[in-house]
Symmetry: C2
Subunit: 651 residues, 2 copies
């Protein structure tokens, strides 16, 4: 960049933020420096076309592009990552391009104030928070009872907690202030005790009884969203939750892109700060909204995939993406949150849940613990569909797992009108035989896109109504104006422009369908491979837990119909939502649950699918609706045969 290049003011609407940037910067760069998060799946490579914005005034230097329709070009849409700034600009960010943190849909559990004690109990975990506060009334010393302050405290803890002296440890700073604290409220003190492996550490000692102000935060550090849940440790009450988009998205949509960015730009520190800032902002919001103080947050439990945990802790992620795919650590000991800049009690602990491998992370081990896979008698599946698709098969005796490169299609990425399960997302969709579309959008507002469950419904319904064939191709002969050709590609109009909230139609394209089929195929292939690897058949699988950010409603039958899940009675398939966060909450409230995650992580056997020939075969077979081999989907065959004639014979 030339030192004497011109600087221009860029005014973003509707945010009403102004930044000044150098000539030649892109509009996407400008948005980043204004801290406006906009969709950008390809990370600024000019491929995905998600970052389209409207140029209200000024001029940019932008190449002609196929990413914009003629109509969009007429409306002054530009691709933000390709538009070089050559003057002052006013930029309007349309609805569909915005990432609006405040509107991320939280898990059902977060929306209702549930008794977590009951949930823990149902899962068979004992309530015993990782960090707890206990109030002690000590006997003042006398000439006949003149043990030292520190040992007096230990004795009282031992009496109350029945722990052994030799597993306790006290930090130096606590020792220094101990005599004064003990005497301040006449020998009544509250001790904060934290589990650190085999050790019970005195994290803090406060005068008087403060045992009713002990909070923890469970965090799900997703590639796309970061969710934080504030819990009251003693009562196990879920106090509040909050979510934001992961601001690391500006470094790349998926974590492989981010690792490359980190290495090429020596940006690991910057990327760590980015995710830490997200977490600090979440906590800060929770703290303010609930009138508590940071000092009373004594623990954080974090679940997330292996790469995200590496970014969070600033551990070298380079080898995660290079054969033989070696993380720096799967098991990370608890550290003080402040060591990585997370602002809670200065001696509060950050517990990072363990991962299994580079591609099966703590989100999965946490989820497996949340559904108590380790207690199942019969082989049971856990399928978590997020940026990737991870599959675990196991029971109380064994567990195998793998990661399918499913891609984030069901998170809305790579889908023209795909979006996450946020306000305005179509989460339920129905298509009649006459090709009429009805839907329900989150928040009951005009729809702005389609989230995972809606996309899944869409494919299933299009198959049922004969809009697409078993390969996912549009049946060109159907009689409806909704099917049309635009810019050389067929697309189906789901919602007309006047009904949407984005000044545009909502469509699904041929490429979208291919994407979704590849995605569901990758998952089903992984399921098949794991089942076969254990010498089992699909009928041996007792139950399937489906996790992920689909939204709050998932039509399990539709997941079978498109061949994402194995053909079994719907009653044996449970949609369990964000189990990564659920597991983190359980671990925070129960040392028992925390230990269970550890033992699950050390017990799981990881299968690497990359370059696995059998997996490739399974994947090819699964690239149909529901599958090449219809024998694996008898109930789907029966259902669809009655509806249209493409199922009269096998493919």
């Amino acid at each position: 960049m030339s030192e004497n290049s011109n600087r221009y003011k860029i005014h973003f609407l509707p945010n009403d933020k102004i930044v000044e940037v150098n000539e030649g910067s892109t509009v996407l760069d400008a948005a980043h420096s204004a801290n406006i998060y906009i969709n950008s799946i390809c990370g600024g490579d000019g491929i995905c076309g998600k970052c389209k914005v409207i140029l209200s005034s000024g001029t940019v230097d932008a190449p002609t592009t196929k990413l914009l329709s003629k109509e969009e070009v007429d409306k002054d849409y530009i691709i933000a990552c390709e538009a070089g700034i050559t003057s002052e600009l006013q930029i309007l960010i349309p609805h569909e391009t915005r990432l609006e943190g405040k509107k991320i849909l939280l898990d059902q559990n977060e929306q209702h104030s549930m008794t977590w004690k009951a949930i823990l109990g149902r899962a068979g975990f004992k309530h015993d928070a990782l960090v707890k506060k206990i109030c002690l009334k000590l006997e003042p010393p006398t000439m006949d009872d003149n043990i030292a302050d520190h040992e007096r405290l230990y004795q009282a803890i031992m009496m109350k907690q029945s722990v052994e002296l030799n597993v306790m440890q006290t930090g130096y700073s606590i020792l220094k202030k101990l005599p004064e604290v003990l005497r301040q409220e006449d020998w009544t003190v509250t001790v904060t005790l934290g589990h650190r492996g085999k050790i019970l550490e005195i994290i803090d000692v406060q005068p008087g009884d403060t045992s009713n102000t002990n909070y923890g935060v469970a965090i799900d550090v997703g590639t796309t969203t970061v969710v934080a849940c504030l819990l009251e440790m003693e009562t196990s009450k879920v106090v509040d939750s909050e979510a934001v988009y992961n601001t690391q998205m500006k470094f790349g949509e998926d974590y492989i892109q981010r690792i490359i960015y980190a290495i090429q730009n020596d940006a690991l520190d910057e990327m760590q700060r980015s995710i830490v800032t997200d977490i600090n902002n979440l906590i800060s919001t929770l703290v303010k909204r609930n009138s508590i103080i940071l000092d009373d947050i004594t623990a954080i439990v974090s679940a997330g995939n292996t790469a995200m945990h590496h970014f969070l802790l600033g551990l070298d992620p380079e080898r995660i993406r290079k054969e033989p795919y070696i993380p720096t650590a799967n098991f990370i000991p608890p550290i003080r949150a402040i060591q990585i800049g997370i602002d809670i009690n200065s001696r509060g602990l950050l517990y990072t849940l363990p991962s299994v491998s580079a591609y099966v992370g703590a989100d999965i081990t946490s989820g497996a613990a949340a559904i108590r896979l380790d207690k199942e008698e019969m082989p049971t599946l856990l399928i978590d569909i997020g940026t990737n698709g991870e599959v675990v098969l196991g029971n109380k005796e064994w567990m195998v797992c793998c990661s399918a490169s499913a891609g984030p299609a069901f998170e809305g990425s790579g889908i023209k009108h795909g979006m996450r399960a946020a306000k305005g997302a179509i989460e339920i969709m129905h298509i009649t035989k006459e090709f009429e579309v009805s839907y329900s959008a989150i928040g009951d507002i005009p729809p702005r896109g389609i989230c995972g469950s809606g996309l899944l419904d869409c494919i299933a319904e299009m198959l049922r109504s004969g809009i697409i064939d078993r390969s996912g191709n549009f049946q060109k002969g159907i009689k409806t104006d909704r099917l049309r050709k635009r810019d050389d590609e067929y697309e189906f109009v789901l919602v007309s422009k006047e009904d949407t909230g984005i000044d545009n139609e909502i469509v699904i394209t041929q490429a979208d369908i291919a994407n979704l089929i590849r995605s569901k195929g990758a998952i089903y292939a992984a399921v098949s491979l794991l089942i076969e690897s254990m010498g089992l058949g699909i009928n041996d699988v007792h139950c399937v837990y489906l996790a992920g950010g689909f939204g709050n409603y998932l039509n399990v039958r539709n997941a079978i119909t498109i061949g994402m899940l194995p053909d079994m009675p719907s009653s044996r398939i449970k949609f369990v939502g964000n189990t990564s966060l659920t597991g983190a909450k359980m671990a925070l409230l129960s040392e028992d649950a925390f230990e269970t995650v550890q033992s699950i992580a050390s017990q799981m056997t990881y299968f690497d699918l990359m370059g696995n020939r059998k997996y490739m075969e399974e994947f090819m077979s699964a690239n149909f609706l529901p599958h090449t081999n219809l024998d694996e989907f008898p109930s789907v065959l029966e259902e669809l045969s009655s509806l249209n004639n493409q199922f009269s014979g096998t493919n």
Copy 2:
């Protein structure tokens, strides 16, 4: 202090140091700010007279004093703490007033390079250093063996050390650098492992094999002297030792004075820095002299009395001197040395050995472990005579202890020509019937004073030769010029001026004798009380270990003759030197020994003697030579009866 007061230059000889101080400061203040350590037992209260210096030029404002003889006044001696500065001065510090750090006598064990492995073995301790370095050659990861770097390291450690995974812990900074270090020397690394209670912590990971460069430092933090001993952890070799006077002496000669100083002047931080600086200087000397680097020192074990450990760690010592005498902590968990400013490996650990009470410190528990009191079948005594006199009675089943306010007379304090066991100290003395004195001084140089063993000989020999009676009073009738009256007090000339190295005679005064008798009486009373408290008699005591800084030679028979030790065959009394340091060395080299000190500390029952009526009675009875009750000293009665007539009947 007035802001516009005059400033004067003070020139100290023979140090040749010049400082500028305000008018009205004392000469002692000036010496302190010049960092010249001079004797000052009373801490500047104008009582002890130890800080006498010679005023070579200039004028001071000093009161007349009985602390100086007429002869001394004629030679321009002044009392430094009483002399207010009113002009520029030249001050000569005479030999007897100097504290010369470099000449502190080290324990015999330090002087010879002994095989500590053998010493450990003899004590029954397994060699297993508190912090050790092990070299590991890891298998590089492959697609079939793709566990994470951190877990690969753990597996290798487990294989080599047969420790369990769940007792290991890794610091965050180690995790961060791990991938690079592992690959730097092709998967050969050296791991530094430190015991932290139940946890084995990875303190460092270095590329290649550095396992042969692992050092530890054992420290005895005495009130008067600080001794450091450098050990090679793997070979158990004592590499080198060094000692300095504790510079905290400028805050008070004994630790009670220092606690008062700390509280009154809010000087705890300053006093902590003072002792930490001493230790850093010792380590720095050892490191330079032996061409090793600080980074290779991975552990320190410190023994010392309770107050000194409080000062070292900056823990509030206030309640140590106030009823009911409560330390902040007896058991202090290991901390990183750098946390208190000790400069070794930045993650190296400081292990502070545990104390029992305010007045029975880690020097005693360390000593009890060193002599393996915990293995004795029969009741055994450990008596440690330093600034105080601590007594432990016990065996493998029980231990009781107490602290006698013996005062530091046997360390030379409060004795006109007393000094520590340094170069020029008379350590052996013999007095003939004709009152002729022969002696041996440390370093074979003209004597400058008398150390503990010499003082003990002196009292015993004066008693034998009839110079003093059983009350310690000079027998005025004896025929020798050596006995004389000076400044209203009787004194006995031990060495004439021309034979000393201090331009003065060496004498022992009536007050000195009274001091030494009180001191030995306090110890014997404590011994008696402990024995009686257990329902035992002196004959039940199987063995006595006498520890302390007496020097290298101690005439055990003389200790019995004056009634400091119980009357038993000399073969059952062992002089064991600085057991505090010995125990610290053992703990450093053997986790087993470290644990033994811990269990001894938690097992010992402490008897408080202050205000104990029975103790006062015992003390009064012991204020004779050897004792009021001669029945307790049959062999002494027999010996002395043959020499002079005062023992013909009982008192």
